[in-house]
Subunit: 370 residues, 2 copies
């Protein structure tokens, strides 16, 4: 690696695909042309060869260890992103079940998931934060789950709105709890035993785009119908240990390195959560300090540790904020095109210095323009 | 790149994921930590940012130029591999059409495609090479396509059996011709206007695993039903220029570099085909020279330029062939677990020296053991 290449790097607040640990990128770079002992790039290896099988097994073992996942659960590496999960979940667990699926709607991704679920069966949106423009998540008294529901679905962190469940929503014991954890996966410890299924596309906290991790309780694997398109049937992937067809080998390889980095360099998910809280606090503190200038979107107790969303008093100030930040090496801060404003994503791999640099810039900008 | 890393590389005859051009790997390595001008690794870039959009547009432009694809066709970059195409094709073009789909069955991949299509509607296997253990492809007199068929489907190169269509099968004008070109895509020029849809997972000739290129005639985009899972509807991807959801950014980036290599370094697909024919001839010539010792699987006029498949007189000789080849830096020659024998894959990026080294080894081995 050349010094130039390192120093060119900016602080990248992209919402996803997003920042990756530099040490992981360096390892990938070193091994890119020839993986030690393999005689070829990892991209050139058969997925059924010993070397790649070990890579995938190691990635799975690291994720199992980080989250404390028991053998009651299968861990799958799939393609198609969260968007395909929006369909696979109801196709496997709702279609022809005679039951209804219950959804908590707290943002843009939940809305898309509901749209796909409705194609497969009866869907009840038992909570919606639409009225308050998706600035909050529910408490347990805000909704009621049917005892015989097919499942209860929620999105643990809505990247576009920047709202996050601080813990799992209440759910009857016999109803499988399903979470889209795409944007906070591996950012904090979880009690996996609470879930029926939890999934995440990798490109926020866990790796590059192109691989989606699905953790599914094994009893749910029996539910999908054999007439489903084969790729959509969880059972096929579980029975073949994610080798039902060729898995996305390179994204899985990088994901495995990120999981190893979380284990060895960070010290596990509790340590990661503590760092993430600290980084988010740097940003929210400056938003609160300049309340009225920075208009935070989420209710304080629902704020995301991953994506801080806020607006500025005018479109002109917003444009100059983005432009000046960019000049200072603080990139990709524009909010999602559907909501505007600013979105600062401070995922696992965003170093504390990045969050600190942005917070200082925000403080200065508010003082100058407030 | 260190000299060590280069010299460690072996000749990799893997059937896929498979060998990539060294110059492409070197470029990827150089840019891995920081894409020039982007301030971040290509893996860290938002798919909706200017830099990545240009990468994807350039990849598409190169593929369009190499194959001469007119604007009558959409070029899509999808996930899920060929396996998901096995379902997407009949889900979009057969389901509820009142028509039947016609399949030419010449090997293992065609068989899987038929299995998925039967879930979606009426399927006629109008030709099967099963009786001769899939050693051939049909001539136009071997089958008859219904005039009102939903489509005619074939797999242009069956990797496991090593049989390849030398040109497109005859097909009535009004029936869309559909090809699984996964293992010979970009290995030779094609007349795209003959096709309704042609697709290929990238991990043979075109890039790493995790991206599938689908070239679809635009009139066929109207056919899928809105009730399909959103990811499965070609129209969604075409209307959003492969950004209906986050595309597999890194695999697309590498695919674009391979397409550029084919254009600039190789000189286009006619030149590539000529090199591929030459490489394959080296292997088939030695098989024919030692006929009786090497037992070629495919009929001579159906031999694949991509995958040479053959057996040896005994399991012992087979095992020592694989072991000795490996000692000589000739790797991944074992045939697919379903058929045994030897499979030597000599895709685009396999250098002539690799094919020559294998041919020499085969000649020596036959002389010593024949």
């Amino acid at each position: 690696m050349s010094a130039t290449a390192t120093t060119e790097r900016v602080f990248n607040f992209s919402a996803g695909p997003a920042v990756l640990p530099v040490s992981v990128l360096q390892e990938v770079q070193d091994e890119l042309l020839c993986l030690p002992g393999a005689g070829a790039s990892v991209m050139e290896l058969s997925h059924r060869g010993k070397v790649f099988i070990e890579i995938m097994e190691q990635a799975e073992a690291s994720i199992r260890s980080l989250l404390g996942i028991s053998d009651q659960y299968a861990v799958l590496f799939l393609q198609g992103g969260a968007a395909l999960q929006f369909s696979m979940i109801p196709a496997n667990l709702l279609r022809d079940s005679g039951k209804s699926a219950q959804y908590l709607l707290t943002g843009a991704w939940g809305k898309k998931a509901i749209g796909e679920a409705k194609k497969e069966g009866t869907v009840d949106t038992i909570y919606s934060a639409a009225e308050s423009n998706f600035d909050r998540v529910p408490t347990s008294s805000d909704y009621q789950v049917k005892d015989d529901a097919a499942y209860l679905y929620y999105c643990s962190n809505e990247t576009i709105q920047g709202v996050q469940f601080q813990s799992e929503p209440a759910c009857p014991d016999n109803v499988p709890l399903i979470s889209d954890a795409s944007s906070d996966f591996l950012s904090r410890p979880l009690d996996i035993d609470k879930y029926g299924l939890i999934y995440a596309c990798a490109q926020k906290n866990a790796g590059p785009a192109g691989v989606t991790v699905v953790i599914i309780r094994r009893d749910l694997l029996a539910k999908g119908c054999d007439k489903l398109p084969g790729y959509l049937l969880y059972r096929n992937h579980a029975e073949n240990e994610s080798m039902w067809n060729t898995p996305p080998t390179f994204p899985i390889y990088v994901l495995g390195k990120v999981a190893k980095w979380l284990t060895n360099d960070i010290g596990g998910l509790a340590a990661m959560e503590s760092q993430n809280r600290e980084k988010a606090k740097l940003l929210y503190d400056v938003i609160d300090k300049h309340a009225g200038f920075y208009l935070g979107h989420a209710q304080v107790d629902c704020r995301s540790t991953m994506n801080a969303t806020f607006n500025l008093p005018s479109e002109d100030l917003l444009a100059s904020f983005v432009a000046e930040a960019s000049k200072n090496g603080l990139q990709n801060l524009k909010g999602h095109r559907s909501v505007g404003g600013i979105r600062a994503s401070v995922y696992n791999a965003m170093p504390r210095e990045g969050a600190q640099a942005l917070a200082s810039f925000m403080d200065d900008f508010a003082k100058k323009n407030g």
